[in-house]
Symmetry: C2
Subunit: 226 residues, 2 copies
DNA sequence: TTCATAGTTCGATGGTAAGCGAAGCATTAA
DNA sequence: TTAATGCTTCGCTTACCATCGAACTATGAA
């Protein structure tokens, strides 16, 4: 009968995992650069650029040039509404993530989520910290116990600057590859930097992958037992 | 930060043209059989079956067996809301249909839309009828003029049974391939049957295509000049 | 200048999924 | 029974598009 406007085009635009990740990242309202969005989606900047121009052409995004940066935001509130509607539906139905975008297994194992550790290792760390009672679930977010404080001091993490930040110290963050939580917040961020400093791991260029070396991985697993 | 539920899966589900066509057809609220939906989407029943099971697994559709028929409906109101939201957005942005599903050019030329003629020829017929003042746009839908009545009687279409039907006599229907209107309603349906009876055209099996033969096409073009 | 960083464009590759024919199952009609 | 219809499953082909490397443009820094 009536065939209506083109839902398929819109759906396919949102239907790509990399693009969906970028959109959810932008749903926070923040303006992000192309490179940041590439990291968020776990793809190279070239790929991201292609996706971004498609989404802009499709009316999902807006672009603001500032110096040599390009800041992307959602185009309107309408985009947000559509995304919210879809997220609500997907959450209700408990959709499993099937076609996991760039299917790098390394990405599932350990990767950066903004500035903290995600993936199998990230989840393991969270589990370990909770099991040892270093962290404890509170009404709103996560709390740090006395034992935890001691543990992190032992691990040479400096709290003072962290507590002054506006960002919450501990925060849990849902992991898409495991559908489990890992540690975010400024503490999560500090831990990751500490891993870098200790020489346990370093970031792979142009990717979200955090590459642990053999010794580093061994030490990590020992520090955060299950 | 948070990666939320799987929008990509839902998007890709809706993002296929064939599936999107089925969903919009079901948006009317009617329960349709697999074969009907196949026709609606312009694909074979095998393909439709595959799509339908995917959408059912994805929680978009519900299936009701009745004898040897399978009636499909949208799963809940939530599905409808999501679709409506997407349609609203797409309409506002004036999205063009780019990836036209089964890209049979014959399908764009002349096809069945439920029970009336769509595609290039359908649009041409509508234009011609309007230009000659046989049909006239009214506040709600389309009206039949005196001249029109004469023309259709000349064309040997019997009005009496048509006017008794609950379905509206004239109705305009948006054509996805042209983004223009063509004639629906019981009159549109009667015209198509008349073309079959005159031997101008016949339906291609397992497809929405209406195949005009050479003489039939010539006569059609003469009867409905632009 | 020269170098570095942010981003785009181009070309080639590969994986994925839509599509269909053929065969099979299930239900109804005769 | 047999035949016909509605629908599914299997196997295969094809087409699209996400992905990335390499080369290029643009802006800023030294």
């Amino acid at each position: 009968m009536k065939e209506g406007p083109d839902i398929a085009f819109l759906g396919s635009l949102i239907g790509d995992p990399a693009r969906a990740n970028m959109l959810t990242a932008l749903l926070s309202g923040k303006a992000l650069t192309a490179t940041e969005l590439a990291g968020e989606a776990g793809v190279t900047v070239q790929t991201a650029s292609s996706h971004l121009s498609k989404m802009e052409a499709g009316g999902l995004l807006r672009q603001r040039k500032q110096g040599r940066y390009r800041y992307f935001t959602l185009a309107d509130d309408d985009v947000g509404s559509v995304l919210e509607a879809m997220m609500g539906f997907a959450a209700k139905k408990g959709h499993l993530r099937t076609r996991t975008g760039p299917k790098d297994p390394a990405l599932r194992y350990s990767r950066v989520c903004y500035n903290h550790l995600a993936g199998d290792l990230g989840v393991r760390m969270m589990d370990s910290l909770l099991a040892k009672n270093f962290l404890t679930p509170e009404t709103e977010g996560l709390g740090l116990t006395g034992d935890g404080k001691a543990f992190f001091e032992e691990f040479e993490i400096d709290f003072e600057p962290l507590e002054k930040l506006r960002r919450p110290l501990c925060k849990s963050c849902l992991d898409w590859s495991n559908r489990r939580s890992h540690l975010a917040g400024s503490l999560g961020s500090a831990l990751l930097t500490r891993f870098y400093d200790l020489g346990w791991a370093k970031r792979v260029e142009n990717s979200r992958i955090v590459a642990f070396n053999v010794a580093g991985e061994k030490a990590f697993l020992k520090t955060f037992p299950v």
